[in-house]
Amino acid sequence: MSSWYAEKSPQDDIVVSTRIRLARNLSGIPFPARMTAEQRKDLNLKVKKAITESNTPFAKSLNYIDMSDVPQTEVMAMVERHIISPEFAGSNAERAIILSADESISIMIGEEDHIRIQVILGGFQLEKAYEIAEALDNLLYNSLNFAFDRNLGFLTECPTNLGTGLRASVMLHLPVTESSGEISRIADSVGKIGFTVRGMYGEGSKPIASMYQVSNQITLGISEKNALDNLKIITEQLIDKERGSREGLNRVKLEDTCFRALGILQNCRVLSSEEMMNLLSRIKLGISMGIIKTEAMPIKLLIEGQPYMLMKKYGQLEPEERDIYRANRMREALA
């Protein structure tokens, strides 16, 4: 079964992926930061049982993975595939996840909260992703006693997640909106209604590959439906804006930018991951504008070209060696 980034998805000319995350905790035991090793093991088994002994298709389609059985390279490659968080990967505590074969569903056990349900789908699929997450939430609630309060909603270790415990996000590819310098204005206006826009890769003011994540910030006093509806409206506006701006571009200049990127990727011998991401961003733009014709999928290549994903495939590599393998991989894929 192939991953979300290896398939054609709705509106994926702009929306790279859709993610739903639900934070849930059990009552009567401390939150993960204060848990003992015994309590952690006990929690892992409880969640495992809740899934495997449920009379649902999830019992068969989801696999329990003890993270201590996973080699460190694969743990880090899971971060690069957005299955687990960097914090979860970096922890030495007894951790486990529950994962679907296509890796679209993952449940982190004992991360910041006892349970983090995550559903990640390619393209723009908010309703579908939430539907799956909610089904899992209901299933787990049937056998686990979730901490809930009438006023504060689902209780979470970090007070910023109280209420619905829902973080809904979309990852958008916005190269033209970005170059018009409008991202910060957009960030300001969505900030006023409780949403954030941030660069998906890279830190500070210079995001890599023109990828932006839009997500809800407020979880208390807003229903799941409202949060999802608002995110949908914001995303649709951003899609329209990006598509509109793309139409207005000078065709020859755009072709030049895209083909230059293709030229480098088809001929390079040494390639850093940052350069790869920025070039693939232009290839993605070129494909959606009908300029570049290729079977290659830029987002799939972008993920496969990450450091630990390369090492998962080719074995332990020094950074300089990785840059060579990465260049080879891109030449091969875009030949």
């Binding site: 939150f31 909603g153 439906k225």
Partner: protein, 165 residues
Amino acid sequence: MLCDKCGKNNATTHIKQIINGVVTEHDLCSACAAKEGFGKFSNGSLAEMLSSMFGDIGAVGAGTKAVRCPVCGATFADIAETGKVGCADCYRTFYSELLPYLKRVHGTVKHTGKIPNSTPLAEKPQEETAENLRMELNRLVSEEKFEEAAVIRDKIKKLEEKGNE
């Protein structure tokens, strides 16, 4: 661009905070950024930011007797220091201490989303136990809604009188 704080070094760190829709922006040099607690840009920065927000709220309660959560043993000082709550019961134990902070983060303290084991996304009235009513009373008092609080107070009184009969 020069640092907003010291005005001497080049600003290399751009801070944008959005709290309840209020946007503040700063351009800082790395030294001033570290001083302001924005030195590390791991995901730990959120916890640090939280604990700094808790800090000024926690300071008010400092010096008073250290109440411990009966389930996990955390004190409010522990929570203020880490920005992380010890367990679900801490929300009950330290409700009034946490409340001003929760309001700052979310702008409200009334959950309007899903209620477990109910029709998805629908609202369902909660059972009126003395415990639930007391929590509601705390909330109304802290929001200075005294008239509504008085109604709840009378309900609690009635419930307790019934219990004593």
